[in-house]
Subunit: 570 residues, 2 copies
Amino acid sequence: MKLDRLVGERFKERPSDCVIDSHALMIRGGYMKQVSNGIYSQFMPLKRIAHKVERIIREEMDAIDGQEVLFPVVMPASLWEESGRYESVGKELARFVDRNEKKLILGMTHEEACVHLVKEYGNSYTKYPFMVYQIQTKFRDEARPRAGLIRVREFTMKDAYSFHTSQEDLEEYYERCYEAYLRIFARAGIPDVVAVSSDPGMMGGNISHEFMLLTPVGEDTVVLCTECDYKANMEAAESIVENTRDEVSKELELVSTPATKTIEALCDFLGITKEKTCKAVMYRRNIDDKIIVVFIRGDLDVNETKVRNYLGFEIHPADIEEGEGIVPGFTGPVNLSGEIIVLFDKSLENTNNMVTGGNVEDYHYVGLDFARDLKDVEFHDLAKAVEGGICPQCGNKSLTVKRGIEVGNIFQLGTKYTESMGMEYIDSDGKPRNPIMGCYGIGVGRLIASVAEVHHDENGPIWPMSISPWQVHICALRSDEPNVKEFADKLYENLMKKGIEVIYDDRNVSAGVMFSDADLLGVPVRVIVSPRNLKNNVCEITARDKSFTIQEPIESVEEKLVEIVKSNLC
Amino acid sequence: MKLDRLVGERFKERPSDCVIDSHALMIRGGYMKQVSNGIYSQFMPLKRIAHKVERIIREEMDAIDGQEVLFPVVMPASLWEESGRYESVGKELARFVDRNEKKLILGMTHEEACVHLVKEYGNSYTKYPFMVYQIQTKFRDEARPRAGLIRVREFTMKDAYSFHTSQEDLEEYYERCYEAYLRIFARAGIPDVVAVSSDPGMMGGNISHEFMLLTPVGEDTVVLCTECDYKANMEAAESIVENTRDEVSKELELVSTPATKTIEALCDFLGITKEKTCKAVMYRRNIDDKIIVVFIRGDLDVNETKVRNYLGFEIHPADIEEGEGIVPGFTGPVNLSGEIIVLFDKSLENTNNMVTGGNVEDYHYVGLDFARDLKDVEFHDLAKAVEGGICPQCGNKSLTVKRGIEVGNIFQLGTKYTESMGMEYIDSDGKPRNPIMGCYGIGVGRLIASVAEVHHDENGPIWPMSISPWQVHICALRSDEPNVKEFADKLYENLMKKGIEVIYDDRNVSAGVMFSDADLLGVPVRVIVSPRNLKNNVCEITARDKSFTIQEPIESVEEKLVEIVKSNLC
């Protein structure tokens, strides 16, 4: 490819709406252009990278006996009504009607379509296990698209679905897929991805993992143990709390605490630590706005996912106004009345001498002893794990909290979909049973952006050879000089004949322009043909990541480049 | 691939809802499954064929300097409002709103998205010409999906867009693309595709061609000359009519013609031929239902596209009720009054002694002389060409009318999109100009179905080697016999090692089941390993199209298969 023919603009200024580097560099480098919020068109370099990533994914999916299929982008609502998700999934599911007013949806995941496709095939235990996958465009109407290809509304995704006759067989396959995922990420240039336990959310099922690329710009939070191999995302991380009990329980007493609506103000006013307070966090049930109050130790935060999972219905954080039986800023569990769902976090279990809202404006209770003062209270793990917290696996105070980008996920789905959609097989004993499913996703664009996020400098991405849009970048400096042009032209032709993917810059521009464009395209190996080099009978070969610069004799430059390309290929 | 692991069902019965063979065979062969009207999921064999077709398309597009990009499936309505198509395109454009009530559409073509992508890049004449293309899922809410993958609502399409600074440059590129298309169809196994002139329709522009695969099951009509190379689709085909004039013009006279609402009844009643009648064909303007009457010689049909193009607005066939100034069944051009748009086909020019409606119930005029009796009448070509009609190119009465499937199309778009969307470049004289566009489409699924339509027998498709899901099909008959199993296993392994794509059937089933499954999968070369064959130290190699059967010695069977595969590859 001649660079001067490459459609797309490259420029120096960081776009003001880009919060992370990979986004800014992929806009600056002419990789993509936003069409609407969270919807992008892709230029050739990005499309080439995507092809290579998809090839790696295909090879690894085929290697674990996957069969590539294709499900539709547009599906009838009836399919999602069968599984119950047409109702249960929120606004992220795009819904519309066709010319005959028939309800349709845009696929954001394809469990239903997959069960529909393989339902008849999988009618006997002899057909199992099997896995099918697709690489297809999906649309998810995200409330807050952000960070370029990290969180978009339209995206290309590999989604795989496996079917089994026993939980053991699923687990065995799940493990194979887990390993295949680690190989995919390693081959794409991010071997440091960690798999963490996660909450299955809308997918259903019990066990699931997310593959996290740890980076400060990630939008997910991951909890890791520094002493053992415990890893979980924040939603799924267990919170274990030591709550010490004072030797003597004081009396329960309502005291005046004017203008202390926040925990901070209350602690200041009474001269106590947050650990001695019991705070109220408010939610509402989506379906009818019923109030839910979660009581938790004042130094901890509520893990909304745990609350949702415990309750089994959708909730949202609530701003409670006065007059619904709640006194905002002064809510406590003693004498709380009204049509309210009340939950208690484990951090409050067995505590005494706690301070909590008095359910009267400007008053708090002090001296609260949970065991003594509140009857029939159940405590549940509803808190977020914290830095330095207790590891649920090894018991050390060794939890650390990091940011990460989720580059893949795998789920053990159980029979949620096969049961609701009536998929059955006849088992070896002649009895009908529902197959057990697993599903496995990787977002292609997000993976590419993640690679750029960990492999870049201020001048551009540094693509790993395995997914780079081209393998060698030829810069012909002073291509107006015939010997430069002639040598570079021939090098370009010969490298292509040897199967090397070459981008060739023979524009009559300054070295500065040429190198900054090359930096933005991020090709790992660059060869510079210039009058000065040729005078010395050499070409300069440099690595985009600055790991080497070689003065290679012109006789062996082709051979050397081929060697570098081949040795870097995963 | 082991056949017993292949997900998908194969069966014998022709599904009752399949009107054409390719559709029936691709359902029977486990290639696809309908999810909704005109929406299919694809099993592995079809996906493999699609990959190969897409690779051929990519290679040919790259060979004419195309750059692969990707446009979104979901686009903001605002983009289509810029070009005016958000309003002008009908219900086939799927429209919906996102969570913020912002209007979105599903891409059925991507001229707008393409101009949006390259607008800034193409700011100088030095950047031209260039072409970008994508292979992407599209959705078009067809009123009548039919014939399997021939006419669907969701489909994978290659769409390409070229940009030029002069009409000459566009025409030169158009020619290159035309040739590339012929190469694509030939490589995919249908070299007999003919390119016909077509009507650009909603795309805009002047010159366009459709690539037609002639087959009786096609839904398009093509007009070809048997004496020269004139080719056009019915919409675009010129109609040239010889209308002979009687020597003596009779008088214009209103005569009683009771119950003669049709041309046939009228001709019977008066004992005349259809050529001596002038019939009225009714339409309405979509926007306000205003009546349009097209007068045409009674033996000819109106070409609705020509009427639409002449008028410049959308129309639909109308069932006219009495009382709008029209007397249905008795409408004629003499003394016709009311708010009506009246058009005349060229077939009426200069005719005399014609019979036409009297605009009075049960009365017709006879003796109509157009030149004498009607003032200021303009005649236009509004008729459909007919079998045996006059060729507009060579003048012989040598037109023939055939059915065809449109497997591709190319358009010279002019500046319709660049002008409406404000895309400009600075020309060599420093002046801003709108680039000239071409666009070029191929539907991947329709192409595959078309190949199956011309290459099949009653038992299944006969795939050309170039796009076959696998290259060699091994049938191990009596795989329960150890020597059969051992030989077939080894053959399978060794062929794969040599890069051959093999489907291997080692099921313990009858030869009948095995061969009918192989017929449905349509792999061009089959090798049969059986106890009897092995006893004779041979394998039987047969062609799916029955062109050969070879008894190949077991020592050379691998070599022979590799040779057959390689020599059949396009």
